[in-house]
Symmetry: C2
Subunit: 363 residues, 2 copies
DNA sequence: TTGTACGCGTTATCAA
DNA sequence: TTGATAACGCGTACAA
């Protein structure tokens, strides 16, 4: 160590300069600083909060940055800040087309705000879900859990570390995005009643699915209100095959207006019934949930309670970002706007061919 | 500066200790070092390449790490290394269900190797695709481009900076994953010929789609070989509506064995034809491509040339990782195994109800 | 085998 | 308003 002057920065910049010649490593704020004739810290200021620097140097720096095709290194930025501009999304089953739109909505909302989406799947297992969550946790600013299989307590535990928003489930003390099932269910029950169905049935999903129970509660309540009989079948697997397996029980039940936990089950049920010679909708009316891609491909096309899947994904991401902002700048508790936005997420009946006038007479 | 001893490390550790009391910030290698009574660098060595440290201290460190619930900070790790353990996947259109399985395959392969998947959409625009690519580029070890809209040259440009693998398209000098269309097309053409169709038609996708042209080339070649007449229609939009729009032209064309660029178009075409009173498959046989989710929901269910979508996604990710490994350790050019794996990706005809004996007589 | 010291690119805290 | 400098957590030559 021959010298004791301001060595580190000088040495650093010399090294940068040398490096610049050899490889084509991306430009750093030091390169910009050199080009603009200012200090690196000034560059940092100018590029992050464009108010703490004079207009003149601001422009010089911006020009230099543009010329050098500068792109901030997210990792270097994340280190002192802790902010990664990345949100994780964990879905329980990528196979399920209902999530496609959720993913799409979240991705759109994210990239619109210069955020990036990290995707992971839990394969319907609480254990791998927790694993994925922990792995991702270190990398993201917040996590969206779509129909999580985790226990409430585990979710709250995660939420202590980073903002967590849950989709399609209510968990105390955690941000939740759940579309209002009431309007869609109300319409559906009324629709079936109008069609002449006096005995309804609900084909439930898995017991562990919060949403399945929620939908059942809503349907039952509505039927009581309307004086209709309704029975619950299941639990069943929330897939096409799961719907198929319920066909026999439904057929013998005497119920003629069937609402299924989701479109997948509805499609399976309908297919199985049809292949047994049952006429839809003459003998049974079938209504699904979600309005997934392909639910109108069937013959007859499926009537369904449409869920605002894409909006749900987008709203979840917005909520995460809001929680993030709140944790930094705790003054503003204007959840109101967000709550309002989330409240707009309502279901709605889409009437297609699988529900119609009940006319078993025409045997 | 009262002292000139080994200040920095000591000061750092003191601060850590103080911090440890207050907030619940995640444990670092310094915490482990303190607990195990060794230096932080030893911890780093023990945790990265478990061979450069004595068995005894190794255990001590691992115990301490476990006790502290240690989780390496990916950002801090990425900074000196440049490695992020993250792969980006850009799809041209999340709406298209064909990508669902690709995403799924890639995600599965990634998380199996402790990699994380970054998802982005280009919304069918070359410009936003480039933007997304550049934004993501800084964050990932490599990028997978599914049916990119970018020009070949732009893709090569990207590939100069980080490993790039392209799905469903051939680009010189860039890793590509394209399922072999030959077997599926051969089966399909033979199938239609056997059914009595003498005049075939191909409903093309967008002109910009490399895959659409590729499929057409293969079909045409196969038809020539078989002495069948075949005409190309389009270009069209690769959606259900795009398929619908081709119905009139197809109906007047005289062709009766129709192969569509993808299932979406096939479904639209079939629906439109049926709603005009045309009987499928008696009058027209329709075959799609890909075997997407829901292609068996239609009545009749769609015959289709199945693509190994999921395997394609998984293979693409594997390829990226291989290129990554090769760029680090250039000695091993054992692409052979990979090429072999990629070569196994073949299409295959799935015969369902939309194709059948040609019997226009039964008017 | 282990410890020392530095750099990765950025932000944040001070002085100036 | 700007500059100098210390973190952020980890990997790694180099020295011991």
């Amino acid at each position: 160590m021959p010298d004791s002057g301001p060595m580190p920065p000088a040495g650093r910049m010399l090294q940068r300069a040398a490096k610049q010649r050899t490889a084509q490593s991306p430009a750093t704020i030091y390169d910009i600083a050199a080009l603009a004739g200012v200090n690196a810290s000034t560059v940092s200021r100018a590029l992050t909060k464009p108010g703490r620097v004079s207009a003149k140097t601001q422009k010089k720096i911006e020009d230099a940055a543009a010329q050098l095709n500068y792109q901030a290194n997210p990792f270097a930025r994340a280190l002192p800040t802790g902010k990664t501009n990345t949100v994780g999304l964990i879905v329980s089953d990528i196979t399920n087309p209902a999530y496609f739109d959720v993913i799409r909505g979240a991705e759109g909302a994210a990239s619109a705000r210069d955020y990036t989406l990290l995707l992971a799947e839990s394969a319907e297992s609480a254990q791998t879900e927790l694993l994925a969550a922990k792995r991702i946790m270190t990398t993201v600013d917040g996590i969206i859990l779509a129909s999580p299989r985790l226990a409430d307590e585990q979710i709250r535990e995660l939420a202590k570390k980073k903002p967590v928003v849950v989709i399609n489930r209510m968990v105390e003390e955690v941000g939740c995005v759940v579309a209002d099932v009431q309007p869609g269910v109300t319409e559906a029950v009324r629709h079936l009643a109008t069609l002449g169905h006096e005995s309804l049935a609900y084909v439930a999903g898995p017991d562990r699915s919060w949403m399945s129970g929620h939908r059942w509660d809503s349907i039952r309540g509505r039927c009581e209100w309307s004086g209709l009989r309704v029975r619950k079948f299941g639990p069943g697997t929330p897939t096409v095959d799961g719907g198929r397996e319920m066909a026999a029980a439904i057929r013998e039940s005497g119920a003629t207006g069937i609402i299924c936990y989701n479109d997948l089950m509805a499609i399976g049920l309908m297919q199985e019934l049809q292949s047994a010679g049952v006429r839809i909708p003459a003998e049974f009316s079938i209504v699904g949930f979600d309005n997934i891609f392909g639910s109108d491909f069937t013959t007859p096309p499926l009537s369904t309670v449409k869920s605002p899947l894409r909006e749900t994904g987008a709203t979840a991401l917005t909520l995460i970002l809001a929680e993030l902002a709140a944790s930094i700048e705790p003054g503003r508790a204007d959840d109101s706007a967000l709550r309002a936005e989330a409240a707009k997420l309502a279901t709605e009946l889409v009437i297609r061919g699988s529900s119609g006038q009940h006319s078993p007479a025409a045997l």
